[in-house]
C-alpha cells in the first residue's frame, strides 16, 4: 500500500509541475516583456529613460546613423490623445564603454497638438558617442 501511495504522489507531483510553470510569470529570457505604453516596442523602450509619466505620448520609431563620424538620432513621437500635451526631453550620449559622453544636454520643451506626430533629432557631442538614451518627462524638470 505504501509503495502504491508513493507512486501516486509522485505521479501527481509530476503532473502539477508543468501546470505550476504555466501559471508562474515566465522569466525575461524565455519571453520578452511587453513594451510600456510610451514605446512602440521593447527595443525602443530600452533606449528611453522616463522620469515619471509621459501621459499619452509614445515613441513610435527610432533611427540612428553616423554622419561625418558623429552619431545622429531621430525619434518619431506621437501624441495618442486628442488633447494638447507637453513633453520635456533630452538626449544622453554614451561611449563604447557605457560612460557618459559629453556634458548633460539642456532639457528641451516640445509642444504636441492632439494626435500630432513630431520628429526629434539629436546629434552626439563628438565621435566618441556610440550609444544614446532619450530622457523624457511630462512634468517640467
Amino acid at each position: 500500500m505504501r509503495n502504491s501511495e508513493m507512486k501516486l504522489w509522485k505521479a501527481s507531483a509530476l503532473a502539477i509541475v508543468p501546470l505550476a510553470l504555466a501559471c508562474c510569470p515566465v522569466p525575461a529570457m524565455a519571453q520578452a516583456a511587453p513594451a510600456p505604453s510610451y514605446a512602440a516596442s521593447p527595443g525602443i523602450a530600452a533606449k528611453l529613460m522616463v522620469r515619471d509619466s509621459v501621459r499619452d505620448l509614445r515613441v513610435q520609431s527610432l533611427r540612428s546613423q553616423r554622419r561625418n563620424d558623429v552619431m545622429v538620432v531621430q525619434a518619431e513621437m506621437v501624441n495618442t490623445s486628442g488633447l494638447n500635451s507637453r513633453l520635456y526631453y533630452r538626449f544622453r550620449w554614451l561611449d563604447a564603454d557605457g560612460m557618459q559622453a559629453g556634458d548633460d544636454e539642456a532639457w528641451k520643451p516640445l509642444h504636441f497638438m492632439g494626435k500630432q506626430n513630431q520628429f526629434v533629432k539629436g546629434v552626439a557631442p563628438g565621435p566618441q558617442a556610440a550609444d544614446f538614451r532619450i530622457e523624457m518627462s511630462a512634468e517640467s524638470p
Binding site: W107, K108, V123, P125
Partner: protein, 226 residues
C-alpha cells in the same frame, strides 16, 4: 565619514582607558598601541561634531539644475541660449564642412532684438562644444587678439626671455572659416497676451573665397498669458 571617525575615536578611547587600568601595561607593544590610540582619538574626536558642507542663511537661496527649462519671464533666457548652442553645434558637427579638422574663428554676433542679449556667451557655448568634439580648431578671435599680441611682444621684445622655448613671432595660424551671425526678434502684444519670436542665424564663411559653406537657424517662440 564623521560617523566612522566617531566609532574609531570611541574604540581608541576605550583602548586608552583599559591601558590606564594597567591591564596590558606589561608589554611594550601595548604601550605603543595605547599612545597611538590616544593620539588617534585626539585627532578624530573633533570630527564627531555634526557638520554640513554648506553655509546657510534664511534667505531662501537654493541651487537648481542649470539645464532645467527656465520660464520665469519670456525674455531671452538660459534655455534659449542652450537650445541655440545645441542646435548650431549639432548641425555643424554633422556637416561635411568640418571633415579634416579645419581652423575656425569667431566674429561678433549682431543683436538685432529690442533687449540686451549677451551674444558672446552664446558663441562661447558653441565654441566650447565644438572644441570638445575635437572636430575643429579655433584661432583667437578679433576680441582676443590684443592679449595674444601683447604676450608675443612681451616674450620677444622685452629682452627678459632666453631664446630657447619662447613663442616666436609670425607663427600664428590663420583661420580657414569664420562663424558669423545675428539674432533678431519679433515682439507682439495684444491685451494680456505677449508673444516673442526669436531667430538666430549662424553662417560659416570661407575666409579666402568669401563663400558661405554652412548656415543654420534656430527659431524660438515664447508666449505669455497673464
Amino acid at each position: 565619514m564623521s560617523g566612522a571617525a566617531c566609532q574609531a575615536g570611541r574604540l581608541a578611547g576605550r583602548n586608552s582607558n583599559s591601558n590606564s587600568k594597567g591591564e596590558f601595561m606589561s608589554s611594550g607593544l601595548s604601550l605603543r598601541a595605547a599612545c597611538g590610540a590616544a593620539v588617534f582619538s585626539v585627532l578624530l574626536l573633533p570630527g564627531c561634531q555634526v557638520m554640513q558642507p554648506k553655509v546657510d542663511a534664511p534667505t531662501g537661496v537654493s541651487y537648481g539644475d542649470a539645464k532645467a527649462v527656465e520660464t520665469v519671464t519670456n525674455e531671452f533666457g538660459s534655455t534659449d541660449l542652450q537650445m541655440i548652442a545645441e542646435r548650431m553645434t549639432g548641425s555643424l558637427l554633422e556637416s561635411a564642412v568640418l571633415s579634416g579638422r579645419p581652423t575656425l574663428t569667431l566674429a561678433p554676433v549682431r543683436n538685432k532684438t529690442s533687449e540686451y542679449i549677451d551674444t558672446k556667451s552664446i558663441m562661447d557655448s558653441i565654441q566650447t562644444r565644438l572644441i570638445k568634439s575635437n572636430k575643429v580648431r579655433f584661432t583667437r578671435s578679433m576680441d582676443e587678439m590684443q592679449t595674444g599680441v601683447e604676450e608675443l611682444q612681451r616674450q620677444n621684445q622685452s629682452g627678459l626671455y632666453r631664446s630657447a622655448g619662447k613663442a616666436k613671432m609670425g607663427n600664428m595660424v590663420g583661420a580657414q572659416y569664420t562663424l558669423e551671425g545675428e539674432i533678431g526678434s519679433i515682439v507682439k502684444q495684444a491685451g494680456s497676451v505677449k508673444d516673442v519670436y526669436y531667430k538666430m542665424t549662424l553662417k560659416l564663411y570661407d575666409v579666402s573665397a568669401g563663400t558661405i559653406e554652412w548656415q543654420e537657424e534656430k527659431e524660438i517662440r515664447k508666449t505669455t498669458r497673464r
